[in-house]
């Protein structure tokens, strides 16, 4: 029995090592592929969305910086505006089990209904594997991927670092700027900006 657990442990360590050796996100490079289940248990693979623009949004609804963008309706407006234009919007939650932002399906259904969110899918990344792959350190953290599955924007939602809703209209929305430019065949001016927010509540 002991030997078996040792073997299992060894396999687990090896698997973890392989996971950490995974591709990491890099601006201008191919977006690392992943498969995650959404809140309904349906699997989504990033490569399935090749040919479309994809937005990844790291989320934790109890984080004050995420609240800023949801209580003001800013995030939902962006989700609605761009999904209507054919953009795939994936909210990703890397909060580990028992940590802030990790909700049950029932809680999520209620939140999504109350806040009238419009993401394409809400993906669960409890292990934090995809979060680490995308170097997501805070919520919100945004990634814009083009139809060739290259990362064209990485980082903050906008350029005013605060938890104050009043700053939203004064700020440049860097995700909208990147999508608008790229979808109109123009160059994305600001390709990256350090994200601001709460630390992602990863498993230790």
């Amino acid at each position: 029995m002991k030997k078996l657990s040792l073997l299992v442990a060894a396999i687990f360590i090896a698997a973890t090592a392989m996971m950490t050796a995974h591709d990491h996100v890099k601006l201008g490079k191919k977006a690392p592929n992943f498969t995650l289940k959404d809140k309904n248990g349906v699997e989504h693979e990033l490569s399935d969305f090749a040919g479309k623009y994809v937005v990844l949004e790291w989320v934790n609804y109890d984080c004050p910086f995420v609240k800023k963008h949801y209580e003001s309706g800013n995030m939902q407006d962006l989700q609605r505006k761009y999904t209507k234009k054919g953009v795939i919007w994936l909210a990703v939650c890397s909060s580990a089990e028992g940590k802030q932002g990790n909700f049950t399906k029932a809680e999520l259904d209620k939140k999504h209904k109350d806040m009238k969110t419009a993401e394409t899918a809400y993906l669960i990344d409890e292990s934090g594997e995809v979060g680490h792959m995308y170097n997501a350190k805070v919520t919100p953290d945004m990634v814009v991927i083009n139809p060739d599955q290259e990362v064209i924007y990485l980082g903050a939602i906008d350029n005013i670092k605060s938890a104050d809703q009043a700053d939203i209209e004064k700020a440049d929305n860097l995700v909208a700027d990147a999508l608008d430019a790229a979808m109109n065949g123009k160059e994305v001016k600001v390709k990256t900006h350090k994200p601001y927010g709460c630390g992602v509540k990863y498993a230790k």
């Binding site: 350190k137 990256t192 994200p195 601001y196 709460c198 509540k201």
Partner: protein, 272 residues
């Protein structure tokens, strides 16, 4: 046995309830003081804002690191009273949280601001208000704010306050301002290299460096320091969020002086 389990269960429930109802209002106590009780118009004075932070929680330094927000003060002063320079911050700590490095301050945090009074302005008293806002974090983060104010008398005599000693101590231990006209920096795809060619005369060895300019380095990677006889070379890893090489780099340098005493200075290096 059953009773004990029931009791334990009840206790757990009560504990859980108390946890979820935790009150965060008392996490940070804010107070304000000055080094003077009375001043003459035309002279300078200092105001200290103190944040007394509950154990294990922290607020953020001017560069917060990977997450968080800097503590901020919006001053409200009468006409004729002006700030001299920026806020004086204490040396921060690296605070690790699930693979991130933040630059924070814990326990008793002091923020110091120098003011000057304009001789041409008539004032019979000076009221200073500080709107202080901060993000306090442990495993979760809470944005908070509070306003504190004080009134100083204006008269012919300068009267020290009971906080005069504290202000002197804070000024003595705060990083000094130092000019680095000969020092240089370079940023390539992987590394930020800094050459400190200007050194305070009492500097023996540089022990640590914090960048004040944000989004330049990967905060989670170690800072490598090589102390040579004529210059100090510092190497840091580049942040994935760097937009372009900045015109200048602002840093806090911690060092040991020739008597082994811990000292620090802040400096700006121009991109040449």
């Amino acid at each position: 046995m059953k009773k004990t389990i029931l009791l334990l269960f009840t206790a757990l429930l009560a504990f859980g309830f108390a946890q979820s109802e935790e009150n965060y209002d008392d996490l940070v106590g804010v107070s304000i003081a000055s080094n003077v009780d009375q001043i003459q118009i035309g002279s300078d004075f200092y105001v200290i804002v103190k944040l007394n932070i509950d154990g294990e929680w922290h607020v953020y330094w001017k560069n917060p690191g990977d997450s968080g927000l800097p503590t901020h003060i919006e001053w409200d002063t009468p006409k004729g009273v002006k700030k001299v320079g920026g806020l004086v911050w204490q040396v921060p700590k690296r605070i690790e949280f699930s693979g991130m490095i933040n630059y924070g301050l814990e326990g008793e945090v002091y923020l110091l601001q120098k003011f000057t009074t304009d001789r041409a302005t008539k004032l019979d008293k000076i009221k200073i208000k500080a709107d202080v806002s901060w993000l306090v974090c442990k495993d979760i983060c809470i944005p908070q704010d509070e306003s504190v104010s004080l009134e100083l008398a204006v008269g012919d005599k300068f009267k020290k306050s009971s906080s005069d000693g504290l202000v002197n101590e804070l000024l003595a231990s705060a990083p000094k301002s130092f000019e680095s006209p000969k020092s240089t920096f370079e940023i390539d795809d992987d590394e930020v290299s800094i050459d400190l060619k200007d050194k305070p005369t009492d500097l023996a060895t540089v022990t640590d460096v914090y960048l004040i300019t944000e989004s330049i380095i990967d905060n989670t990677k170690p800072v490598e320091i090589e102390n040579d006889s004529d210059e100090v070379e510092i190497e840091m890893s580049v942040s994935p969020y760097i937009e372009s090489t900045p015109a200048e780099l602002e840093l806090l340098v911690l060092y040991k002086d020739k008597n082994g005493k811990n000292k620090s200075y802040e400096t700006i290096i121009q991109n040449k």
